[in-house]
């Protein structure tokens, strides 16, 4: 049993989740009494590999090829498959980033395997790793194991492991040059861009009132607008509200929107899918108002009211207006 952590870097900075994955790999290796190595895909990435080499690892593999300068699912999948054949790790761990979501299922399938994606925890049972995943948008947890022979693949959810627990050490860097041809890479990545400069900076807001699907229709938005006004808060939303065009995209909180950490975050009619939670769980005080007592938002909330937002929110607005006046 040996572990290989495949880490992500965008050419400018490490993805923070890479360190979480490295910490997880070291922890699981200790529990299984095995070794852990790390891999980074980057042409001429010696300095990146050098950073990894200062952590406690068996070895650092720098996957180096000019055709890997830009991310492509074909290139990364083919290169990592060759690395796996050479290194023969039994368990591969990845951060559950958008990039990993794009190539990991392809890589695993090319070896006849299925990956456990978006794991939130693990435990070791009878010498094997059991991963915990969420089903039904976080309403249910599932314990899953790998079937069949190694290699096995898992990706880890943002925040599931702690980046500050990476153990330091010294390891060697080995350069791995995969055999790739340009014709094997079918997708052509073009320019990266942002839609527009963000007019609304939610990250600076002290108080945020955020609205989700529970608001039912665009015509009901004033219900939460009034609460936001009473609190002197910025109005924000979960993704479906922005998708529907009920509030502009720039007011979206979550993995595809802004990441906020105000002193008060009031989640109204938001169930709390992980994509939303990652954008707001750093808030100091979280209030959740939702009709479903099992909504995952209550897991990250300090205060909660289980009830109909159309009854609760106007009462809350009135109570706040009253104290503001006094």
């Amino acid at each position: 049993m040996s572990i290989l952590a495949v880490l992500e870097h965008n050419g400018r900075a490490w993805n923070r989740m890479s360190w979480e994955t490295l910490a997880a790999a070291q922890q699981i290796a200790r529990e299984l009494n095995t070794t852990v190595s790390a891999a980074v895909v980057r042409p001429d990435g010696q300095s990146l590999a050098g950073e990894l080499a200062r952590t406690r690892l068996e070895r650092v593999y720098l996957v180096d090829h000019e055709l890997l300068a830009e991310y492509t699912a074909d290139g990364f999948s083919l290169a990592l498959r060759q690395l796996i054949e050479r290194v023969k790790p039994e368990l591969l761990l990845f951060p559950h980033t958008y990039q990993v979501r794009d190539f990991l299922p392809k890589l695993a399938t090319s070896l006849g395997k299925a990956a456990v994606t978006d794991a939130i925890a693990h435990r070791v049972h009878d010498g094997a790793v059991v991963f915990v995943r969420q089903f039904f948008q976080g309403k249910v947890n599932a314990d899953v194991r790998f079937a069949g022979d190694a290699p096995h693949f898992a990706s880890l959810q943002a925040g599931a492991y702690r980046a500050d627990q990476v153990a330091e050490g010294a390891s060697e860097v080995e350069i791995f040059r995969p055999d790739l041809r340009a014709a094997q890479i079918r997708g052509k990545p073009l320019e990266l861009f942002r839609e527009s400069e963000r007019a609304v900076d939610l990250t600076a807001a002290g108080i945020i009132v955020s609205v989700g699907r529970g608001i039912k229709e665009a015509g009901n938005i004033p219900v939460v607008e009034k609460l936001a006004r009473a609190l002197g808060a910025e109005l924000a939303a979960s993704r479906p509200i922005c998708d529907a065009g009920w509030l502009p995209m720039e007011r979206q909180v979550g993995s595809s929107g802004q990441t906020v950490s105000p002193k008060l975050y009031v989640a109204v009619g938001i169930s709390g899918a992980i994509q939303h939670l990652v954008g707001m769980k750093g808030s100091r005080t979280v209030v959740a108002i939702n009709k479903d007592p099992n909504a995952p938002i209550f897991e990250v909330a300090d205060y909660g009211i289980v009830g109909d937002l159309f009854q609760v929110v106007p009462e809350l607005t009135a109570a706040i207006e009253k104290i503001k006046k006094s």
């Binding site: 089903f135 947890n141 990266l192 479906p240 595809s256 008060l264 209030v287």
Partner: protein, 256 residues
């Protein structure tokens, strides 16, 4: 342009879920079902591409008999025909699910395969990409825009933190579609009427020569996650609950 769109039926979003006695799946008997939301957007994109470029949209779904309802809705919205792989999918791993879908897609030889980026039930987010690999197609994930230019497509992919990327690839290809790519249409009365006459091909795993069993990931058990102890819930009338909450926000959290 021939487009296959893979859609999944999942429990309605506000469902109260109960764990089945086996501990391996949920109690399905009293649940309402609907189309997995990202898949609804995949269907919408398929229909819009057909309107622009002509061709045919084939809805593909795997699941037990109740899935016929989701298929009927897709046909009513404008899909031309459908394939129903009649199998109980439950917590089948994404490799097994994709093998079933791949077997059904293969004989259609479509120009484009679309599906939602992930399911709201199992949430692996893998089925589309696996399907692409099994079919030998290039793919792009989390797609927000599709433009067809002869034998190639140009897509806009969503990345993290507000970034996007344009990408080109040859056809045939597979795309996983992000929610919000277009505005979802409703079925018209005419559409609902027409749907009844459209072809639905029913197949089983046996017909496809594929085993409907998990190939890579074994489910031990499912359970309700433990709630954190720190939350304080306020009860009573909405007015009472609001008053208690304001009290705590002022004097305990000190944020007002």
């Amino acid at each position: 342009m021939k487009i296959v769109v893979a859609i999944k039926q999942t429990p309605a979003r506000d469902s109260q879920l109960r764990i089945a006695g086996t501990g391996k799946w949920i109690e399905e008997a009293d649940l309402a079902y609907e189309v997995n939301e990202p898949d609804a957007y995949a269907l919408e994109e398929a229909l819009q591409l057909k309107e622009k470029h002509g061709g045919e949209v084939i809805a593909l779904s795997a699941g037990p008999a109740r899935v016929a309802q989701t298929i009927r809705e897709a046909l009513a919205k404008g899909a031309d025909r459908a394939i129903h792989i009649e199998e109980d999918m439950g917590a089948l791993d994404p490799l097994a699910a994709a093998r079933l879908l791949a077997a059904a897609v293969k004989s259609e030889a479509p120009d484009l395969v679309l599906t939602g980026l992930q399911s709201d039930d199992l949430g692996y987010g893998q089925t589309g990409v696996i399907l692409a690999e099994l079919l030998g197609l290039p793919h792009a994930t989390i797609v927000m825009k599709v433009e067809v230019d002869g034998g190639a497509i140009r897509v806009k992919r969503e990345l993290e933190d507000g970034w996007f990327q344009q990408m080109e690839m040859p056809l045939p290809a597979l795309l996983t579609i992000q929610s919000g790519i277009g505005k979802l249409r409703y079925a018209t009365l005419m559409g609902i009427k027409k749907a009844k006459t459209k072809e639905v091909k029913r197949l089983t795993a046996a017909d496809l020569g594929v085993a409907a069993e998990s190939a890579g990931v074994v489910l031990d058990r499912i359970y309700t996650p433990e709630r954190s102890k720190r939350i304080q819930l306020f009860t009573g009338t909405p007015q009472e609950a609001a008053a208690q909450l304001v009290e705590k926000l002022r004097f305990e959290a000190r944020v007002l």
